[in-house]
C-alpha cells in the first residue's frame, strides 16, 4: 500500500543540548557541593544533684580560654602552637613521672594488657571567647589524641589509624586511648 512507504519524519535533536544545559544549570544552582564534616563530640548528661567528683590534680590538664582568646594551660599562659604537644605528653602513659597522670593496667582484646592513662583534659571557656578560637583549641586537642592513636595503631597493627577497617581493631584502640575532654559547667573566667 502506498501508506506504508511513508517515512516517519526525523525528530530534530539539535535543541536537546540546550535542554540538558538548562537542566545542568538548574542543578548547579540548587545544590551544594560541600559534604558535611566536623568535629564530633558528646555532651555530658545534665547534672541532677550537684556533687563534686574529686579527681586528683595530677590527672587533670586544665585548659582555659579567656575572652581575649588567650590560653591558660595548667595555670600558666599557653600557646596554641604548643598545646598539641603538651596535651600529647599529658595523655601518653608515663609510669616514671610522679607528676604525670596515673596509669591503669587494662586488658584489651587484640592488644593484651597495656597501660592506659587516667588523665582528663578539662576545657573551660569564657562567654566572650570567640567560636573560632574554641574550635582551634578543640582541634588541637583532637589532634593530640589522634596522633597518639595513630602511633599505637602503627605499633600494634602496622597500619595508620585512619586506614584501619577492622571494627574490632578500631574499638580496641579507642578503648586504649579514650578521648577524655571534659567541658566544665559554664562560668565566667576573668
Amino acid at each position: 500500500m502506498a501508506k506504508s512507504k511513508k517515512k516517519v519524519p526525523e525528530i530534530n535533536a539539535s535543541s536537546m543540548a540546550d535542554i540538558s544545559f538548562l537542566l545542568l544549570i538548574f542543578f548547579l544552582v540548587t545544590t551544594t557541593m560541600d559534604t558535611d564534616s566536623g568535629i564530633t563530640r558528646r555532651l555530658p548528661p545534665p547534672i541532677e544533684n550537684e556533687m563534686d567528683i574529686k579527681v586528683k590534680e595530677r590527672n587533670i590538664l586544665n585548659v582555659m580560654i579567656n575572652k581575649y582568646d588567650k590560653l591558660m594551660v595548667n595555670n600558666k599562659p599557653g600557646d596554641l602552637a604548643t598545646l598539641k604537644d603538651e596535651t600529647k605528653r599529658f595523655i601518653t602513659p608515663n609510669p616514671n613521672d610522679e607528676k604525670a597522670p596515673e596509669i591503669e593496667m587494662k586488658e584489651i582484646e587484640l592488644l593484651g594488657t597495656i597501660m592506659t592513662n587516667k588523665g582528663v583534659v578539662s576545657l573551660k571557656n569564657d562567654r566572650g571567647t570567640s567560636y573560632k578560637m574554641y574550635i582551634s583549641v578543640q582541634n588541637e586537642l583532637a589532634r593530640a589524641f589522634n596522633e597518639l592513636r595513630d602511633e599505637m595503631s602503627m605499633k600494634y597493627f602496622g597500619q595508620h589509624y585512619n586506614d584501619l577497617t577492622d571494627k574490632d581493631k578500631i574499638e580496641a584502640i579507642n578503648k586504649a586511648i579514650p578521648v577524655r575532654i571534659s567541658e566544665a559547667e559554664p562560668e565566667e573566667i576573668k
Binding site: 536537546m16 558535611d36 566536623g38 568535629i39 558528646r42 562567654r127 574550635i135 583532637a142 589522634n146
Partner: protein, 154 residues
C-alpha cells in the same frame, strides 16, 4: 619542485554535535550524585572556622542543623548573632521544641542516633553557643558535631 597546492576548495568538516546532549547528561548525573539539595535559606552569615581533625558526618537523614551567626540583613536585624532553626530566626529556648520536632519526624529506631550539627559563624561568641549546648543537654541531644571547613594539615 613540488608545490603545496593551496586548496581553497577544501572545507573544514563540521564537528558533529550529536553527542553533545550525552556529554551534558553525563555532567548532570555527576552533579546529581555528588551534591545535595540546598534545604534551607540561610538568614545568617556563615563562615565556618577551619580545622584539620574532621570526621565526615554520616547518614545525612539523621542530622538536624542549628545555624548561628550574624544576620545577613544587618539593616533590619542588627549585627547581634542570631540563632536560625529551619527557615526562621529563633530564640535559645526554642531549641528544645525544635529537637523534639526533629525527633518526631524520624522513626523510633533512629531517634537515639540523631546528631545535631552546629553550623556556627567563626566570630560568634561562645556565650550563645554554650547556651545552645545547655539546651541540647536538657533535652538529651548529646550527639553534636561542630561543623567546620577542612583545612590543610600543618
Amino acid at each position: 619542485m613540488a608545490r603545496f597546492r593551496s586548496n581553497d576548495k577544501k572545507e573544514v568538516p563540521a564537528i558533529s554535535t550529536g553527542s553533545m546532549p550525552d556529554i551534558i547528561f553525563m555532567l548532570i548525573f555527576f552533579f546529581m550524585v555528588t551534591t545535595s539539595m540546598r534545604e534551607v535559606t540561610l538568614k545568617v552569615k556563615m563562615r565556618l572556622p577551619e580545622a584539620t581533625e574532621v570526621q565526615k558526618l554520616e547518614k545525612k537523614s539523621l542530622v538536624s542543623f542549628i545555624y548561628i551567626g550574624p544576620p545577613t540583613n544587618t539593616k533590619l536585624y542588627g549585627t547581634e548573632s542570631r540563632l536560625q532553626l529551619d527557615d526562621q530566626y529563633a530564640r535559645v529556648e526554642d531549641v528544645i521544641t525544635f529537637i523534639e520536632r526533629e525527633r518526631q519526624a524520624r522513626n523510633e529506631a533512629d531517634r537515639p542516633l540523631l546528631t545535631t550539627s552546629l553550623k556556627i559563624h567563626e566570630e560568634v561568641r561562645m556565650g550563645l553557643v554554650t547556651d545552645v549546648k545547655q539546651e541540647l543537654r536538657k533535652c538529651g541531644a548529646f550527639r553534636i558535631n561542630y561543623s567546620v571547613r577542612k583545612g590543610e594539615k600543618k
